[in-house]
């Protein structure tokens, strides 16, 4: 009977051998991401920066040069034009106009009128105009929900597991989130409300993964009371490897269509989630588990008297 197995059944990879490499690489990537966050910085979308986005469909293939010229004459700062989907679809981005929130509306109307005049037959398919006060609030709320989500995860894991697990999960999350931010900085994808949703989703997915691996470790801690922690962690990871990879595969399969067919709004979301799934899967194995190993097995086994007298090798190298 054929069964697709992502890894053979009796896989026994000694993941903990790579614990330093994993942690150091991850830390370096996160540091690089933080650096990228400051320079060149994120490509904030209009949700967070304010400004105007207009999606237009021209009757024939759009003439970008003349379009840029026409819109440039409106004197509204930098006008970014982008083709997407088909040559007839143009995405016009304007920076936030000086003045108050209402100034964005005036500018958006002006572009609409110009398009209608200069390229007759153009349909404006989407208009978004966001002023400074709204974008400021959206940004604040977005960051607030990220922060609160982090705290909520910490509290949940703390209650549910021993503190070492909670600590490991939160450090891993921090490393994950910084890398997603770095991914936004490198790719130049729009950082907007959808990005917050993407980060929250990846955080949720990552924690999911950690919970499954941790659950197995805890179970094994009870079963193999004398097994060295390093061996036990490796064993737990290997036992759950098929599940970890299987779920990652399924989530990946469900997200890929989004990145292909999702249209302007969801394409970016899909791409970031695909990156996030790889990130979360690798961090369960190479980050969350080593942290647990470093925090020591003596403490993790304090509640199990049977292990007290057993000879235990030092948890550190």
């Amino acid at each position: 009977m054929f069964r697709l197995r992502l890894v053979p059944d009796n896989t026994n990879i000694q993941f903990m051998r790579g614990r330093y490499a994993g942690l150091i690489l991850s830390a370096l990537l996160s540091l690089a991401s933080i650096a990228l966050f400051f320079y060149p910085g994120l490509n904030y979308g209009i949700d967070f920066r304010g400004g105007i986005v207009i999606e237009a469909r021209t009757p024939q293939a759009a003439d970008f040069a003349s379009l840029r010229h026409t819109l440039g004459q409106l004197n509204m700062g930098q006008v970014a034009l982008q083709e997407f989907g088909s040559p007839q679809d143009v995405l016009i981005r304007l920076e936030r106009q000086p003045g108050d929130d209402a100034a964005q509306q005036v500018a958006a109307d002006k572009v609409r009128a110009t398009l209608a005049k200069e390229i007759p037959g153009t349909t404006v398919r989407r208009v978004e105009a966001v002023g400074a006060s709204v974008s400021g609030e959206l940004f604040y709320n977005g960051m607030l929900s990220l922060g609160l989500a982090m705290v909520a995860m910490l509290v949940y894991i703390w209650f549910r597991f021993e503190w070492q697990f909670g600590f490991g999960a939160v450090v891993t999350l921090l490393l994950d989130v910084t890398k997603i931010v770095g991914f936004y900085a490198i790719t130049g994808l729009q950082f907007n409300l959808t990005a917050i949703a993407a980060i929250l989703t990846i955080m949720g997915y990552s924690i999911n993964d950690k919970v499954v691996v941790y659950d197995r470790m805890r179970e094994n801690l009870r079963i193999y009371k004398k097994m060295p922690l390093r061996e036990l962690i490796d064993r737990s990871i290997n036992e759950t490897l098929n599940r970890t990879l299987g779920t990652s595969m399924c989530t990946l399969l469900s997200i890929i269509p989004l990145a292909i067919f999702g249209g302007e709004a969801l394409q970016d979301f899909g791409i970031v989630l695909i990156f996030g799934i790889f990130l979360a899967t690798s961090s369960s194995i190479f980050i969350a588990a080593p942290i647990l190993l470093f925090l020591g097995e003596n403490r993790l086994r304090r509640g199990a008297p049977a292990a007290e007298g057993a000879q235990q090798p030092a948890p550190t190298p």
């Binding site: 054929f2 697709l4 709320n141 977005g142 929250l200 299987g246 399969l253 469900s254 269509p257 709004a265």
Partner: protein, 532 residues
């Protein structure tokens, strides 16, 4: 874990069937729906503006203008009060939140405070009193200040926003938009959602006009070209443009207020064929209008809208019927819009559009198509993997997945929740997350089988061991999505909603339903080994 009492089996099947029935109206055509009873045909998912096309506007009430109006009013009334009480003053100044009066004689400070006290309005309290004055009046030497209290400012703001919402609703109703949503947001904002509106220009213009209309006499003694007006009058620009004068000197005193209008309609003047707005006063307005026109025959009477003179016709004879006509070189649309504004009434303060998101209907249709496509492809891919990895048990999981989508849709329909484009992404993502439960269970069963457990033992252990992990991992997701729902805005909320439903329902479909299918299969075919 493996025993299902008969009632439980029936209950599970009933939930699935009921869910399917409830989600059906989403797929039926308009004609079929019309033949069904309303309560059933009505259980459909609301499509968000990004899917059905429409315009989302966020308006802000200019609270500074609200307070400014009140302060200006205070200056005027203070002047009158002090004059009648015979208290001399050198200046009355308007501040941000109140007024300052410089008295000529500091000894009159107490009298001045007493004279100004009637300016305060009482806020709060009921029929028995108990409210408090909204003004804090103090004397300090020869200076008397009257300051609006914090409570008063808040009270003003609340009133202004509630009034504004009412006026906005009336104006939008006049334009014939179907099912608009108009809701207060925060302290000074109004959210307006207009399904099907592709170009919100006209509505933005309508909402951006305060439409404060007054009828005032033109000051015949001043020359508007000098740009200076005598006390009690002001120079106002004209909207008529080249045809007539550029501006008028108009008395500040309001003879008749637009608030006294009962009706206004657009029409054409039969003689000139010009577009005009016909209006009709209520009884109070009609009486005042008659008095003024009787006393001022052959003098020009200015019709002022938002501090611009629309026209200033000369009064030929007293108008006693309470009806009149505004002609101001209107276009058909201009006349109609003005009629709408006059009928709906004036806003208490100017409104600003601070956020607009408009999606055309064809883009919405494209998005629906893209969404359906993504969900279908995603579903097929996930099912293909599950079948390849777990065979028959994978097929059970796929069926459960299908029921999961159907039940999610049914839940959204029953709650009349709004499905947005990110919401569709949520459905997709929950496909991946909910098979996680099945993968956990199947992997566990496989492990237990390898350890040498029998068919039933392995199943039993697989389900019970995997269960706590499933609950744990799903709860963390639900916590996250709750936060996203609370702090997210607009379409993003839709993502949180569908994913939450998807996950919660997967706790039923991926575990209970799949277990039922597996157990029934076990009982029927009594296999020697599990097909995992």
């Amino acid at each position: 874990m493996l025993y299902f009492p008969r009632w439980k089996t029936y209950l599970i099947i009933a939930v699935c069937v009921l869910g399917t029935i409830l989600s059906l109206p989403n797929f039926l055509s308009r004609e079929t729906l019309a033949a069904l009873p309303d309560w059933y045909a009505g259980t459909r998912v609301n499509l968000g503006l990004d899917l059905r096309g429409g315009s989302h506007l966020l308006l802000e009430v200019d609270m500074n203008a609200v307070i400014h109006d009140r302060v200006e009013g205070l200056v005027d009334s203070a002047r009158t009060q002090l004059r009648t009480a015979n208290i001399g003053y050198t200046a009355i100044n308007a501040g941000d939140r109140g007024i300052t009066v410089q008295l000529r004689d500091p000894a009159q400070a107490d009298d001045a405070v007493k004279a100004l006290r009637p300016l305060a309005n009482t806020i709060g309290g009921g029929a028995l009193g108990g409210g408090q004055p909204d003004l804090d009046i103090r004397a300090n030497g020869g200076t008397v200040t009257a300051t609006l209290s914090e409570v008063a400012m808040r009270d003003r703001a609340t009133q202004a926003i509630e009034q504004s919402i009412e006026i906005v609703r009336r104006r939008i109703d006049e334009t014939g938009v179907n099912e608009p949503i108009i809701a207060r947001q925060g302290n000074d904002r109004i959210l307006v959602q207009l399904p099907g509106v592709e170009d919100p220009d006209r509505i933005k213009r309508l909402l951006g006009t305060t439409a404060k209309m007054t009828f005032r006499l033109v000051d015949m003694n001043a020359d508007p070209t000098t740009g200076r007006a005598p006390p009690g009058s002001e120079v106002l620009p004209s909207t008529e443009g080249g045809r007539n004068q550029q501006s008028y000197v108009v008395r500040k005193k309001v003879e008749v207020d637009g608030a006294n209008l009962k009706n206004a309609t657009a029409g054409t003047n039969p003689q000139t064929g010009e577009w005009v707005v016909n209006f009709e006063f209520d009884s109070v307005g009609a009486r005042r209008f008659a008095d003024v026109t009787r006393a001022n025959v052959s003098r020009p009477f200015a019709i002022v809208l938002d501090n611009k003179v629309i026209s200033a016709p000369v009064i030929r004879e007293p108008i006693t019927g309470g009806r009149g006509q505004i002609s101001g070189s209107f276009t058909a649309a201009g006349a109609n819009d003005l009629a709408v504004l006059l009928r709906a009434g004036a806003l208490p303060a100017p409104l600003k559009v601070i956020e607009e998101r408009t999606v055309g209907p064809d883009l919405g249709a494209d998005s629906i198509r893209a969404g359906l496509m993504s969900v279908t492809v995603g579903f097929v891919l996930v099912c293909a993997y599950m079948l390849a990895a777990y065979g028959l048990f994978g097929a059970f999981a796929c069926f459960a997945l299908l029921i999961n989508i159907v039940l999610t849709l049914a839940a959204l329909s029953m709650l009349h929740a709004t499905l947005t484009l990110p919401g569709i992404a949520g459905i997709l993502l929950s496909l991946g997350l909910s098979v996680d439960a099945n993968i956990l269970i199947n992997e566990r069963i496989r492990e237990e089988t390898k350890k040498g457990r029998g068919v039933f033992g392995a199943m039993e252990a697989g389900f019970s061991r995997a269960y706590s992990t499933i609950v744990d991992s799903n709860l963390t997701t639900v916590i996250k999505m709750a936060l996203l729902f609370i702090f997210g805005t607009g379409a993003i909320k839709g993502f949180a909603v569908t994913i939450t439903f998807g996950i919660l329902i997967s706790m039923f479909t991926a575990t209970v339903l799949v277990r039922l299918m597996m157990v029934s299969w076990l009982r029927q075919s009594r296999p020697a080994a599990l097909p995992v």
